[in-house]
């Protein structure tokens, strides 16, 4: 990065890489970062907040753990404290992440596995929702659904949505290069058959609608709860 960022800006930039796995959006733009600071000695402190006291603890844990990891990687950071506030499982999550204990040990007796599977399931949803984001403008421009079957990522006009779709696919280990097909099964990576295209596109659309609606509700709830914007929050 050629621009010189202040310490706080670097922390915020790191937090921008952390996403809510359900909503597939940065925790910053969602307003989940209540504050982020760094002391002269390199002690970083992040306070996170969520739309409700009862937001699902597994996703909350992922966000706190990811925030911890992202901030730890910032140059000059010597210690990291990430605190989730106003949540029923805050103590367990904050303590577990700080101790690098993992989910199963943090929620002793209440969980049987780490959260990789959960994260992958939601990345697949993000791929479906992202497929709709990329395909909708193409269809609106007159591309026939049948023609999408053979379209490659390199043939799709560049856009933020396309970059994002590639990134999510790469995270799942799915093909994301220029010669990879646009329409694939997010579980297997297999191409989508001609007959299955209408259903695939409908499922993609429904997944996107669901995620968007959830994000809308979450933003409304968060606003009611705090009546203040978070660090890096984007209004919608």
């Amino acid at each position: 990065m050629s621009t010189i960022l202040s310490g706080e800006a670097q922390i915020l930039a790191a937090l921008e890489t952390v996403r809510d796995p359900e909503l597939d959006e940065p925790i910053t733009s969602l307003g989940f970062v209540a504050s982020c600071t760094i002391s002269a000695g390199g002690a970083a402190q992040v306070r996170l907040r969520l739309p409700t006291y009862f937001c699902a603890p597994n996703f909350a844990f992922l966000m706190v753990a990811d925030a911890y990891d992202a901030v730890s990687r910032v140059d000059g950071v010597r210690s990291v404290e990430v605190v989730l506030e106003d949540h029923f499982a805050a103590e367990t999550i904050n303590g577990g992440v700080a101790a690098r204990a993992g989910f199963v040990r943090s929620f002793d007796g209440e969980a049987v596995a780490e959260l990789d599977q959960l994260r992958a399931d939601f990345l697949r949803k993000a791929v479906m929702a992202g497929t709709d984001q990329v395909c909708r403008p193409l269809l609106a421009a007159g591309v026939q659904p049948a023609a999408l079957v053979t379209l490659t990522l390199g043939e799709v006009p560049p856009s933020r949505a396309l970059d994002r779709l590639r990134q999510r696919r790469a995270e799942l280990g799915l093909p994301a290069g220029d010669d990879a097909l646009l329409l694939i099964d997010p579980g297997t990576g297999a191409r989508v058959g001609d007959d299955a295209v209408p259903l695939h596109l409908r499922r993609a659309r429904t997944t996107r609608v669901s995620v968007d609606a959830n994000a809308g509700i979450c933003r409304g709830m968060l606003w009611h709860r705090y009546h203040a914007r978070g660090e890096g929050e984007e209004e919608t």
Binding site: E22, P51, T52, Y53, F54, C55, A56, P57, N58, F88, F103, V104, F107, E110, A111, V112, A113, E114, L115, Q117, L118, D121, K125, M128, D195, A196, P198, L199, R202, R203, R205, T206, T207, V209, S210, D212, A213, N214, G216, I217, G220, M221, W223, H224, R225
Partner: protein, 349 residues
Amino acid sequence: MYEKDGEKYFVVDSHMHYWNAAPDNWVEGAENYAKGWIECFHAYQSLGPAETHWPIERFQKYSEDDLMKDVFDDGHVDVAVFQPTYLKEWYSEGFNTTERNAILAEKYPGKFILNTRWDPREGDAGLKTLRANVSRYGCKGVKLYTAEWRQGSRGWKLTDPDAYRYLEACQELGITNIHVHKGPTIWPLDKDAFDVADVDHAATDFPALNFIVEHVGLPRIEDFCFMATQEPNVYAGLSVVIGGLMHARPKFFAKVMGELLFWVGEDKMTFGSDYGIWEPRWQVEGFVDWDYPSDEFSDYPRVTTATKKKILGLNAAKLYGIEVPAECRLEPGEGTPAAQDDAQLVARA
């Protein structure tokens, strides 16, 4: 009944409450949970029109008079279905029990349908209570909250063996309507607590029961849609959909409605105000006036007056055997059938 432009709508509020979440009902040591729960509900209310917001004190504990006025006098509701939620680990006398609802149901005959609930973790004792409630109150439906905490457990699934015992008991006792509400916790916690796959299995194994998934499985609308389209006995409970989106996020509301009409179909969608979260009046009036806001939605199924009549009351009246006045019924042949073609499309994939 609600009348607009010469059309008469019979209104069944298929999901509403009469709770006490005031501090006098908080369990000692569990105050944070009791407070957190009702504050979360209160945040949902903020998604409705500003003039319908209540101060938290009233929201924690509204009166019988409030309810009768908001739901029936002002709210256009003909029959309301009480859906209990116990949460006795947090609320001493329960958040909203069958007994509390029964006070109003017995006082105002014909106004309410009184549902009860069960929890498979209560074993034989719970089955006994279920039988007693059915024989005392004549319940035809139950509300199930899978995320309820109980003695260290953070929830359960419909496919748990004990849950099947209760579903069998429902069949035997004449309970036909199973309202399912998913929440943020379950065992084990590493799984997605909102997953509706267990409803899918139960609906297949109990074809004589109707499964009304409340809040259309929010936040898993997509999973709910893909499941409901394949199960003839799965319904979409619209509580939270209308209340939480129609005013706050009209564009998303239109899309969610379009998706539900496409996958689930207008014959299997039921209105629920979720009172006291939201008053029914603005929801009923707004929904009768509602249509897709622009051409952007042209590939979703159309919404007709018949569609709205079914969703606002006729579908739920059918589920509960409620007599609908002749002037509010549909003419034979009025209204389009459910989304059968699309169900086939999914089955083939």
